[in-house]
Symmetry: C2
Subunit: 231 residues, 2 copies
């Protein structure tokens, strides 16, 4: 039975932009597993109530329900152990976890500041009030105030990614010669921006830019072919 | 034949504070290898000219000369492959490299700002003019201007270590259940501060503080027993 994944969608249901869902789309492709994605909206809490919580990604694999992108990656490595691993041993797990913390603690804010209004406009109208309320509480200010100019965002990004950039000068992927879970953890953050916004977060001469291009091409262009919100 | 390491020393030759030499002291202990350290000063370029360059650590292992802490770690894993590994596979190498880039690109500056005058005063008088000249060129200002208040340094540190802190909430060491090269790469930066300065860089409730305590205790307290400059 095909794996099913509840996947955050925009006003256009083809537009998928959750960084955590993108991690899993890439992880499933890495494992060579087919997936049927189900467009989900912030206001559809009932649709995923069976998972015991209210956030996506939620994976349904036969009778097994797993939520939370990290837990899903561990589930996939355990359940499909004979397929290419997402994390290789204890140090591989540590690498991926450090990268996800960089993505979430360091990169999330500058990216959010660059794309927040584009993201807001890409949402289904029914999701916009929830998004505005919850994010304005989190940021302590109006979305319009939180947004910064593209140039300022690019400057903040270039500092924030500095250790990742240094690593990507040494090797093509964060995991080494081939991509794996650490790469997908970071890549999700860039797909979040790409599918709702035209803001350029990276300069073309940045090694992280070249890495992102490679990631967009993986799995027959899975990410590159994905729909973007109309600007 | 015992391995020899040229190790940066202060006015008191027992005081050793190079972050890169500390990485190697810990790595050698990890491998269970004895080492004889040779006190070295910035002004002793001639003493290590045989290595073809002018920076420590320089390792002499029989007829083999290796410099640069990263190259030494790779040499040790290759040459002493039957002893506990410093880096485990491609993902282990990536983990350690990412941590060293965080140490060098993100943490070095706030630590330097906190300890620069203490570091200067710990140096041998003959090293002080070289140190002042080279660092003032690098920072673009007098050492006295570069220094910041301990509170400000602690605030900068707490942000800079945020992804490492998140990882150390999940597991006792950066490498997992046991320390290895990634841990030694970060730990060197803290030994740099510890052996020349009393500035508190971490709050006692920070998981990174608890990790540093564990690191100080490793190998029968190798680092904790090391000499500190008189305040």
């Amino acid at each position: 039975m095909t794996i099913k994944m509840y996947d955050l969608a925009g006003a256009d249901p083809a537009v998928r932009f959750s960084p955590y869902c993108w991690r899993i789309r890439m992880a499933l492709a890495h494992k060579g597993l087919e997936v049927e994605t189900i467009a989900w909206r912030f206001s559809d809490k009932d649709a995923i109530a069976f998972s015991g919580q209210g956030l996506v990604p939620v994976l349904r694999d036969g009778d097994t329900i797993v939520h939370d992108s990290w837990a899903i990656a561990e589930y996939l490595d355990k359940t499909y152990a004979d397929r290419p691993r997402l994390m290789d041993g204890e140090q591989g797990r540590a690498l991926a976890s450090l990268v996800r913390h960089i993505a979430q603690n360091v990169l999330l804010t500058p990216i959010a500041k660059a794309i927040i209004m584009d993201l807001f406009h890409a949402l289904a109208p029914g999701d916009q009030p929830y998004f505005r309320d919850s994010r304005e509480k989190r940021f302590g200010m109006a979305l319009e105030k939180f947004q910064i100019a593209p140039d300022a965002a690019l400057a903040q990004m270039t500092i924030a990614v500095s250790p990742l950039r240094a690593l990507l000068k040494e090797q093509p992927f964060l995991n080494g010669r081939h991509p794996a879970w650490a790469d997908y953890c970071l890549f999700g953050s860039f797909m979040w921006a790409r599918n709702v916004s035209d803001v350029a977060l990276l300069a073309p001469d940045d090694p992280v830019y070249a890495w992102r291009e490679q990631m967009l091409d993986l799995f027959d262009g899975l990410a590159r072919k994905s729909a973007r919100a109309a600007g």
